[in-house]
Symmetry: C2
Subunit: 557 residues, 2 copies
């Protein structure tokens, strides 16, 4: 197997490995979709290419002899079917092809695999705009998020996984001479080690972040020599179909079996995720989605599993410098993609005696009203709102917002009506806000996925911390935002939320939000609470995908 | 918390971390028990100290207010009770004390923890000879193995775990400034990360290698900030009791809670291992022992588990240079501690048309006879045999040897009688050898723990490899020995056994044996087959014991 992509991408790989360790800002793929960065016609061409996919068979994949053509995507902006059909393959076919490909791919050297995978990301880059429109019209994300999250940010997270996987596999010498003094003589052994990939990987995607949440596991599997089957969510296939197609082309161009990376879709009458997950040849599973299915995945025997499930994210308000800026920052966080991010805050803990602002104690009611006003202000800003809110991916989310009206507490904002200025049929919903008492645990101790904010009145910040920690430990949490100017309170929050395995953003105002996690710097999900058992991308995320096996023999001397 | 041991042990830690990566020979603790190394009277004093423990309460532990005094050890050499009583504590008491100690220990910096733990190993070193006699008279190991495995080799594996844990926790910066260009302005964040330990660790020891198999998990837990409860096997408590006592003394001398490391023993009427393992506060479990209990441990929800269970180890004989030397090497491997090592070979695959020796094809029967003769020769060597065989730890092992007579095949060596020249009451048994056909899978597809060798007649080396791989994948394997002079066959064995997650030693003759695994160079158990899910000491062994949690806030600028 001769690959010649290492020279081309060595510098990128070296930089990425350094970035993993520096944890300062690093982005390989520009997040700015402007013509200066991506070219004059990039957006226009991307949009046209997306449009050309509609109501057609998706024929770019190099997977042969499909058993049928299926598709069930629909646009949350237009509330009508995309009409794209993908090739269907039975689980037996997918696994058999992956198994065959495995024995080719595992013999490619880690650095060659890494270079080839970087090449695939460079190809993906040429398709960021298509992927953006595909993401918009499957997830309901607004354009900018669709571009950034599914394009450059996803590619950076993939690059991070490649870098981490390459580093872990090359961290120990491939071979060494071992000489042990025995007194009168020395024992001399030649030793060598191989990082043996575990086998077929399955990546189960979600409907809200189809590429960002899928490529880390996908590339982590691939760089460590495991073939991978991408089982996208049936409502959000196109973004990953494009990525998989690019990977397959690079594989084939380099004389490799394109089935090293396969796309899997459900037939209408045969849901294949469980069949794939339970197949004894499937050794690795990456899963993003709801907790019920996630717990089932974690419970499967004989699998190495990486999950990101649901969580209950908290905001702790103790003391701030500028309450208006804080309210605006929080309002943005809950409006962003209408609360459909796994990192979106849900539970806002505010002490009953209010929040200290500078030297003044601002009453609880005033704080609540400021936040509600900031949410309303943003929603009513016609220049900003449509670009922040996007649309609602799943009709069930609208039902959930409606059901929230039964929460035992006070309604602060109860309507979510919003007319999208461009897509008149868009399924939309702006944040609703309910106030509940700290004693009403049942109301706030579960994830209410979507644009639902709960304001929880606590005795004091002590209780706010205690409840935020309890929620995270019992129901999981992926993010936490805390506002305090007191050093002891800050340390207490770090300590307690640390024990709950929850990262904390302190005192964010301006253009940075608790929802955002940067590759090469922020671990995403910790694995330390029920929201998931894995993290993008700490070393565990890649080392569990292969086995170190040692070989030794007497040295020739 | 001010600790001042870092200066004292920094050089040792640095050397150990380098050794982890070099994987050349490194041993910090000398394995030679000679007076020149350990002092004129070290052995004599150690023996006297061991004798002084007999029929007494073990009062060195700093665990207060025991609920009783219990002990059930007996010497396999003397077949009589040691009469040592250990303090008993209920699982609730052990967990409550560990939980309290956790919140002190987790706040000690990783490098301080590491230095303190090295100090404890230095104290352990002063007690290697006591530990050796304690090991002899609980496990039945011969003196030399008792000294080496339970003393210097165990301490080196502990040091390896400390080094690995320290490196992983200090691999990323504690804090960094993150500055993201946004066009007209930059977003500046101060970020920091903490390695948050997972919680209480439980280490469940075995009866044959009480310290060597327990200290890696124990020290890996401790260096990553987790308190640990050492639940030794009821028949082999004393070796670890001495180690725990030394750790507790070092903790107390440094102002720390000795309950950071506790010893747990069963009361006669209350077996506490399951209660401890199932306790919701116990987050980490290290287990060495039989597969049934190991599978139960692996199946517990909400625990991070590291297991070493049973396996079926193979020898593949294809072609050799000197058959006599090979036979002698293999005879030593099966005689060593009467086959009671987890790395001892059991299944010897020999092709029906024999083995190529240089240019000559030596018939199958001749090969079998050579091996049997080598075993008998070693057993009948009065100067060597007692020092190699040791005694049989568990009466059930003798029963297993007896039951082996029912194996469907030919008896090659069927008696295991052996009179120990020093301990006339010793429970002994030398290897028995049965020949079975490759078709009789039932006979050889399980671990027959103890001095039982099976010679399996195969069609050819191809079949030998296939069966060795199948055994490893289905029933687990911790070691494999292969003899071949053919490069293609060697590569095939590496590839196939690699897929079965089994390390292979090729063409060993002379003073190095398939059973032996060196710290800082050989991974012990791979985690890649049913013999266990963990490995001493690859990075996974320590990174799974803590969670990376990140914190960020706007940078002061």
């Amino acid at each position: 197997m001769k690959l010649n992509l290492v020279d081309k991408h060595q510098a990128t790989l070296d930089t990425a490995v350094r970035a993993l360790h520096a944890r300062t800002f690093f982005a390989h793929y520009p997040e700015n979709p402007s013509p200066e960065v991506y070219g004059e016609n990039a957006d226009k061409e991307g949009r046209a290419k997306y449009a050309a996919f509609l109501n057609q068979k998706f024929e770019e994949l190099l997977q042969e002899d499909p058993g049928g053509w299926v598709g069930q995507e629909e646009s949350p902006y237009e509330q009508q079917a995309l009409g794209i059909k993908y090739p269907y393959f039975s689980p037996e076919t997918l696994v058999a092809r992956a198994e065959e490909a495995y024995h080719q791919w595992r013999k490619v050297k880690p650095v060659d695999r890494a270079a080839l995978l970087v090449e695939s990301l460079e190809r993906m880059k040429t398709r960021f705009f298509e992927i953006a429109y595909a993401t918009m019209h499957t997830t309901g994300q607004a354009y900018m998020m669709s571009f950034q999250a599914s394009g450059p940010h996803a590619a950076d997270r993939a690059l991070e996984a490649i870098a981490s996987g390459l580093e872990e596999q090359t961290r120990f010498p491939e071979a060494t001479e071992w000489e042990k003094p025995m007194g009168k003589y020395n024992i001399k052994l030649s030793k060598s080690w191989r990082a043996v990939p575990k086998g077929i990987g399955l990546v189960i995607g979600c409907s809200t972040f189809p590429t960002w949440n899928s490529v880390p596991g996908m590339y982590a599997n691939l760089v460590t020599g495991n073939p991978v089957i991408i089982k996208s969510h049936p409502k959000a296939v196109l973004p990953m179909a494009i990525v998989v197609a690019e990977v397959q082309k690079v594989l084939q161009e380099n004389g490799l079996n394109p089935n090293i990376c396969q796309l899997a879709v459900d037939a209408d009458e045969r849901l294949i995720t469980k069949e794939l997950a339970e197949h004894p040849k499937v050794k690795l599973i990456d899963y993003t989605g709801g907790s019920d299915f996630g717990n089932y995945i974690e419970g499967l025997k004989g699998k190495t599993v990486f999950t990101e499930k649901t969580g209950v994210n908290s905001i702790i308000l103790d003391s701030v410098e500028d309450l208006d800026k804080v309210a605006q920052n929080l309002a943005f966080s809950v409006n962003l993609y209408s609360g459909q991010m796994c990192t979106a805050p849900q539970n806002f803990f505010i002490p009953e005696n209010g929040v200290k602002v500078g030297n003044e104690q601002v009453p609880y009611e005033t704080v609540v009203q400021k936040i509600a006003d900031a949410v309303t202000g943003l929603v009513n800003n016609p220049k900003a709102a449509p670009h922040i809110l996007g649309a609602i991916q799943n009709p069930a989310t609208l039902e959930r917002v409606k059901d929230a009206a039964t929460i035992k507490g006070r309604q602060v904002l109860s309507t979510c009506d919003f007319s999208h200025p461009v897509f008149e049929k868009a399924r939309t919903c702006t944040p609703v806000i309910y106030e509940v008492d700290a004693t009403e645990k049942e109301s706030y101790s579960r994830e209410l996925f979507g644009p639902i904010m709960l304001i929880i009145k606590t005795k004091d910040t002590e209780q706010s911390i205690e409840l935020a920690k309890e929620m995270a430990m019992q129901y999981g949490a992926i993010s936490c935002g805390a506002y305090t100017l007191d050093a002891d309170t800050k340390e207490k929050i770090m300590d307690e939320m640390g024990l709950a395995g929850t990262p904390v953003s302190f005192n964010l105002t301006g253009g940075i939000y608790v929802n955002q996690n940067a590759s090469f710097s922020d671990f995403h999900v910790t694995g330390g609470n029920p929201a998931g058992n894995a993290s993008f991308t700490n070393p565990e995320f890649v080392v569990k995908r292969f086995t170190w096996v040692g070989f030794r023999e007497p040295a020739m001397s």
